[in-house]
Symmetry: C2
Subunit: 334 residues, 2 copies
């Protein structure tokens, strides 16, 4: 397989340089924390419950692109596909802390869990209260009985949106935790990969997939999914994925949901729209009401081709925080 042609400078500097690119785009609202790969808002009101997100880099705009108005206060960023070190999380924590504690919100991966947990201890030694919500929306990654082993994928966007809303409205860390955890509990995703992305430092693909095959349920970094199959048309592929997603929560007639069709990197908007057409038809047939539809590149794995479908079931409270306006480099809502 040929090496990818990436528009970068020294491959060792991609994370620092992409973070500088976000700072430049922020019109003076976001700063980099000296010496660590973390971004934080320049102005955070006293008493605000801080919302810190983070994880490995290479999935942009996730996570640092979701800092903004009614979104996250900061992001701790690791190397490409690697969890941020505890001191990065801790430095971001201190920069965000305004007296009422922080919520840590990130994808459920072993490295992230370990490093954020170490940072919780460091924060508590400094007298900063921290609660944690790990996102585990990927139904393909473990059975429902072991939901706490599931990976976090594009559902991150909706959970961050809700957490950004409630953390802008409430100064009670317990309430921010409670509502964010419910958003997580109500969110289910599944992805499919058609071809691999590549690692910027080496140009090597993250996995190998035969030219006529796809992997349903493959993870963001090429982790195994539920089945490898011959290339399918969009409609039967969507049917298979929706069967798994709908039966998992389960989503039922009368439910109201937000829908995300997420590009994993190189899949065209044309394809995402054709996918959305079928997803929406299935939801209408099942009498599940779509409150809002988001389509685009939110949680990527470099130039991986493929997409994921995410549903978040709403209730009155989640709807209120979802409907708040939001602004960030990667996601804006009027």
């Amino acid at each position: 397989m040929k090496k990818a042609k990436k528009i970068i400078n020294n491959p060792k500097n991609v994370v620092n340089e992409l973070l500088e690119g976000i700072v430049e785009a922020s019109n003076g609202k976001i700063r980099i924390i000296e010496g660590v790969s973390a971004l934080v808002k320049k102005e955070i009101p006293d008493g605000k419950v801080g919302l810190l997100i983070g994880g490995g880099s290479g999935h942009e705009p996730l996570f640092p692109g979701f800092i903004g108005v009614n979104m996250a206060d900061g992001a701790a960023c690791g190397h490409i596909f690697a969890a941020p070190a505890p001191n990065i999380v801790f430095e971001a924590t201190k920069a965000i802390s305004k007296g009422n504690g922080l919520l840590y919100l990130y994808g459920n991966y072993a490295g992230d869990n370990m490093n954020f947990d170490i940072a919780v201890e460091m924060a508590e030694e400094e007298g900063i209260a921290v609660k944690t919500v790990r996102i585990w929306d990927d139904v393909a990654s473990a059975p429902i009985e072991r939901i706490e082993d599931r990976r976090g994928i594009a559902g991150d966007l909706f959970v961050i949106k809700i957490a950004g809303g409630i953390s802008a409205r409430s100064d009670d860390l317990e309430e921010v935790f409670r509502i964010t955890a419910r958003a997580r509990d109500n969110t289910r995703s599944m992805g499919v990969s058609v071809s691999a992305g590549s690692i910027p430092e080496t140009g090597e693909p993250t996995f190998l997939l035969p030219e006529d095959e796809i992997e349903i349920g493959m993870g963001l970094h090429g982790e195994p999914g539920v089945s490898r199959e011959k290339m399918l048309d969009a409609d039967p592929l969507v049917e298979k994925m929706m069967d798994k997603i709908l039966s998992d929560l389960p989503f039922k007639e009368g439910d109201e949901i937000c829908l995300l069709i997420n590009d994993l990197g190189a899949t065209t908007m044309m394809e995402l729209l054709i996918v959305n057409r079928k997803v929406s038809q299935i939801l209408r047939d099942k009498k599940i009401k779509i409150h809002d539809t988001v389509i685009g590149s939110y949680c990527t794995c470099q130039e991986m081709a493929g997409f994921s479908i995410t549903l978040m079931k709403l209730d009155e409270e989640l709807k209120k925080y979802y409907d708040m306006p939001a602004e960030s480099l990667g996601f804006t809502k009027l």
Copy 2:
């Protein structure tokens, strides 16, 4: 070159199905015009100057993804990479017309020019006044003396944003035309291609580029640019592109601009951010003020890898319309 694996159904139906995908995502606000590949808003106020955009499909979210609040009223869509037939434009015109005429706004390509011009005659026979602004922002496609031969590329987004703003505020077609034309006249772009996209019906690439080369100034469909070069690092590549863009208008010390870093399809947000870092540094050195920065996939050519840089110079009037909130599938501003 291997054929692309696209997530579609029958390749002949991609345009209709992607338009249906937009309708599904619109929450009941957009409809397809029976029998033609055009989308229009369901509710357009009486007396509104209509804003109709359009062009070939395959560049999504451009054009049909830019229908919405303070954006376009409708989009006439051709086959993949082909101008919409005059009757598509005419049917959309009738659906949008509310008594004060329409502005046609589209990229400057021979087929689009011909077909939209025929539709102007058809509209005028029905007593509907039409003015036209053709977008020609691509500095690589002809010298400044022949600016009217230049192609329209990602600058489309900014010109549509301004036109959407003024057409929501003014019921005077001449004023809508005047301000939109000034937005077009103040906008300059340049692209670079790293690898080709492919045509959905055949899976064939739109052009061939050696594995270690890039083409600076290449058009959206693989039209020739200004130079083919060995792969460059991001910073020197951006310097070359910015030299051409800045000297063209020219943009000068003290100017205030909006900046768009646009992905042509498969380029990662990581790369776009690294590009933005350098673009912003150059603008700061030149004392050109960035009013707003937009980064993402707005004007694409299937899974082409590459990006473009667009600058629109603001004045008080353009800034007012740029700053209006906007909402559409492909572009939202708080």
